[in-house]
């Protein structure tokens, strides 16, 4: 017999084997038992969660020769059950709507529906991807759907029920399938693994890890399991799961969080280098760290035993321990920073740089915390509305606030205060920025020598509020683009040297007009009187803050 992939071989043959859709299964079973069958069903839900499988099981239950028992389950053994399961039963017609989109095909299908089934009780039409049918095809169905012959049942399966005409939706009994929980998927994988590879020993944590990666879709989990069985042989461990999925071992993630907690920048970079050398995908790695930080956050809010953390029991003590090392505000900030780095990876030729920068920042967070005093000043400025608060994410603000409240670290030396990064803006002149520029270059050189060389070709030409315009000579080719990518590094250096949160904007030195235009664009909008709408709604205030917008008029809708 030809080899069958796990997802096909272990496709549920009865209602009991369908995972995570209990209310739907109960309803279908009851409807068979009480003979209250609808003539058309609509199974809606995301891909890979059992819509078509349930449709087949329903078709089997309706037609099973060994009449289903008290739970109306199909026997799975009779000719009809087996041929439906294989997908070649003469009375259960499975159509992919993507391949029968034309109205003529539907007309044929409708005409054939009038003939009685060859051997089964019901002729069942399973229309997969039903949203792919054209409107004309649906119209051709409509009358049949309103009143199909008693021996016909239609089951429409779709991931996009909203694309079906209302007239069709309303004539079907609709069931909305849910995504399946990690726990349920892991349980099902265990059953399959036992049957598919009885000689293979599988660690439950490994199954849980596969289930987590499947994100609610059983079929995806089954495909991963199959890969692992082929790869790992007699024993599937968490380690082999990580290997096959190209993930970094959890211990490594813990190690890197340890060095970050110890503010050991060198150690952080060393570990990152090791991970990088193993050929791990930086984006996947960041995802893993973000997931871990999310779990730590949940652990610190809900306890390490919370079922909201999908991790094996033996990892919980470690999770608890790690959660105690970081404040919630730090964790929120770290997640944001790493997510930003993940985004930057897509825009850069050298993906390890954003990763390293993000971790170095995290490892240096202690310096930020020691600046509580500066933050108090910032808060007092905010209170008097002299400073816009929009330059900090809520995570940063929370972090600063916490630092100000707790001051857990010894006050920093005067030197550190002067040179450490601060987010408290102070009034600066362009001359000061230009004067400090060589220091900025030196600072950058320590971290990224090539970038410093590039920066040597540009100069600060305008300072408007907290934005520095860097003029790039027209002949410098790709320099402007490079600086845009490395914007964060330059801003960090400016912050370090000038103790001010400054943004940069890169402009090409083409004509005077171009520069004038850039300058005019950076002008802050005139202070507008706070009208009723803006002071009324914090959402509006936030929108203004995010988009640097001003209210030019007001129109009120109903309600």
């Amino acid at each position: 017999m030809a080899y069958q992939v796990i997802s096909r071989k272990f496709r549920p043959k009865n209602f009991h084997e369908i995972v995570g859709q209990e209310p739907i299964v109960t309803t279908l079973q009851n409807s068979i038992l009480t003979d209250r069958l609808a003539h058309a069903y609509l199974f809606a839900g995301p891909r890979g969660i059992g819509k078509t499988t349930t449709a087949r099981v329903l078709a089997m239950a309706l037609n099973c020769q060994n009449k289903a028992g008290a739970d109306s389950n199909p026997c799975g053994k009779c000719d009809i059950c087996q041929s439906i399961h294989r997908g070649d039963d003469i009375d259960v017609i499975e159509k992919d709507a993507a391949s029968v989109p034309f109205v003529e095909d539907v007309r044929t299908l409708r005409e054939n529906a009038t003939y009685r089934p060859m051997r089964a009780r019901f002729k069942v039409y399973i229309i997969d991807e039903a949203h792919m049918l054209s409107t004309a095809a649906f119209n051709a169905f409509l009358k049949t759907l309103e009143e199909p012959p008693g021996h016909v049942k239609f089951i429409f399966c779709t991931t996009a029920p909203q694309k079906l005409p209302e007239t069709v939706r309303s004539r079907c009994q609709r069931f909305d399938f849910r995504n399946i929980s990690t726990k349920d998927i892991a349980k099902r994988l265990g059953q399959i693994a036992e049957a598919a590879a009885p000689q293979t020993e599988i660690e439950p944590q490994g199954l849980l890890e596969i289930a987590r990666r499947a994100k609610g879709a059983v079929r995806d989990a089954e495909v991963l399991l199959e890969q692992l069985i082929s790869f790992a042989g007699e024993r599937i461990t968490v380690k082999s799961v990580y290997q096959v999925l190209g993930l970094v071992a959890e211990e490594r993630i813990s190690e890197i969080l340890d060095v970050v907690a110890k503010k050991d920048v060198a150690g952080t970079l060393k570990l990152l280098d090791e991970i990088y050398r193993q050929g791990k995908d930086p984006s996947d790695f960041l995802n893993q760290v973000i997931e871990r930080l999310r779990d730590l956050l949940v652990a610190s809010s809900c306890g390490a035993d919370s079922p909201l953390i999908e991790r094996p029991t033996d990892e919980r003590p470690r999770l608890k321990e790690d959660a105690e090392k970081f404040s919630s505000d730090f964790l929120l900030y770290a997640i944001r920073l790493l997510a930003q780095a993940k985004r930057e990876i897509k825009e850069t030729m050298e993906p390890r740089i954003p990763v390293e920068m993000a971790f170095v920042k995290l490892a240096r967070m202690g310096d930020l915390v020691s600046l509580a005093e500066a933050i108090e000043r910032l808060e007092s400025l905010e209170a008097t509305s002299e400073v816009a608060s929009g330059d900090f994410s809520s995570e940063e603000k929370g972090l600063f606030r916490k630092a100000a409240e707790e001051s857990p670290i010894e006050p920093a030396s005067q030197e550190t205060r002067a040179s450490g990064p601060t987010s408290a803006p102070r009034a600066l002149s362009l001359a000061e920025v230009q004067e400090a520029w060589p220091q900025v270059l030196k600072w950058v050189e320590r971290e990224e020598a090539p970038l410093a060389r590039s920066l040597a070709q540009v100069e600060p030409i305008v300072l408007k509020e907290k934005e520095v315009l860097l003029g790039v000579p027209e002949e410098a080719g790709l320099l402007a683009e490079e600086l845009r990518i490395k914007k964060a590094s330059v801003e960090e250096a400016l912050g370090e040297v000038l103790s001010a949160a400054l943004k940069i904007k890169v402009v090409k030195l083409t004509t005077d007009e171009a520069i004038s235009s850039e300058i005019s664009q950076t002008k802050e909008p005139q202070e507008t009187p706070r009208n009723e709408a803006s002071s009324f709604d914090p959402m509006i205030e936030k929108v203004k803050e995010i988009f640097k917008a001003k209210i030019v008029g007001e129109e009120r809708g109903e309600g």
Binding site: Q173, D176, N179, I180, I290, S393, D537
Partner: protein, 330 residues
């Protein structure tokens, strides 16, 4: 013969049960479910021995020829007890052939004639069955009645939830009620959780519970509610809808809170937030007391940030939700 007043589908069912059969019925109105239901009553009443329903011969109004229809109606049926002829989309047909229809009413044949139209002019011949769409405030009552037809009682909250989610789509509500009644088996009463079990979108109403959990800083409970909502969501649009719904709910609370602070009466507050249902207004008032004005403003800010993080792709949906809930519960 005096012109009869229009009647409802329910009245039609009552009359048909008394074997009061008319030669011509006009099913008029924009509610397809009522039209289908009324036709179903007529078919059941005309069913011959051993038949569940009478067979129907359909014509489309714009293509139907009046003589052909009349000839069918006056001819005894070879196979069925009598002919039941339906002319759909019959507005123009009725206007054009009014006299012929009236002639058939005066001197009917063996067949029964049903004309179906979204709208009809005044003075339509035959017995008019009004199949008008219901207003939203009529839906919960209709749901209770339909549930009784399926042998179940339904709680006020469950009926309100079905109305909230499914609006005025009677046909879909009816299908769902039927499914719920099958799901319940022997159980006689439909409760909120039964609706939720078969209607994952019902998670929407859980904004109340979610907001309670946030107000009481119960992060775990809030995250669990959210997790259920995310499991039920089929698309990123639906996921975005969860966030929008929560923001909408908190915004209402903010309005209520502001009104409370300014000393408004509950009635004034109800007017301000457009909430006429007293049980919901009571709940809004008690929920608003869980938060300070500043806290509500701050939480709305967090939600906007989460929205932005999701839409700009900074976080995936689940992470964005988890983080914002944890922040909201801080």
């Amino acid at each position: 013969m005096a012109k009869q007043k229009p009647i409802s589908p329910m009245e039609l069912e009552r009359r048909l049960k008394k074997s009061q059969i008319e030669p011509v019925y006009v099913l008029a109105g924009d509610e397809a479910f009522f039209r289908f239901q009324a036709l179903g009553y007529i078919r059941e009443a005309l069913a011959g021995p051993g038949e569940e329903k009478a067979e129907v011969i359909y014509f489309e109004g714009p293509e139907a020829r009046c003589e052909e229809v009349l000839s069918l109606l006056r001819t005894p049926s070879m196979f069925w007890a009598r002919h039941l002829v339906v002319v759909e989309k019959a507005r123009e047909f009725i206007a054009e052939h009014k006299e012929a229809i009236e002639g058939y009413i005066r001197s009917p044949g063996a067949g029964v004639w049903v004309l179906i139209s979204d709208t009809i002019g005044k003075g339509a011949p035959g017995l008019v069955i009004e199949c008008k769409a219901l207003y939203e405030n009529q839906i919960p009552g209709w749901i209770r009645k339909r549930a009784r037809d399926y042998g179940k009682e339904i709680s006020t909250e469950a009926a309100a939830l079905l109305t909230e989610i499914m609006g005025t789509a009677l046909w879909e509500i009816d299908q769902k009620l039927q499914a719920i009644s099958i799901y319940l088996g022997e159980k006689k009463r439909v409760e909120l959780e039964d609706v939720e079990a078969l209607l994952p979108q019902a998670g929407k109403h859980r904004f109340w519970d979610l907001t309670d959990a946030i107000g009481q800083k119960k992060a775990e409970r809030a995250l669990r509610i959210l997790q259920e909502q995310l499991l039920a969501a089929k698309s990123s649009q639906e996921i975005a809808g969860i966030l929008a719904g929560l923001a909408w709910h908190l915004r209402r609370l903010l309005l209520v809170k502001r009104a409370l602070v300014s000393g408004a009466t509950p009635r004034e507050i109800g007017d301000k937030v457009g909430e006429k249902r007293s049980f919901l207004l009571r709940r809004l008032l008690s929920q608003a007391r869980l938060f300070s004005l500043e806290a509500l403003e701050e939480k709305l800010g967090h939600l906007l940030e989460a929205d932005l993080d999701m839409k700009t792709g900074l976080y995936d949906n689940r992470l964005a939700f988890d983080l914002s809930i944890l922040k909201l519960c801080q």
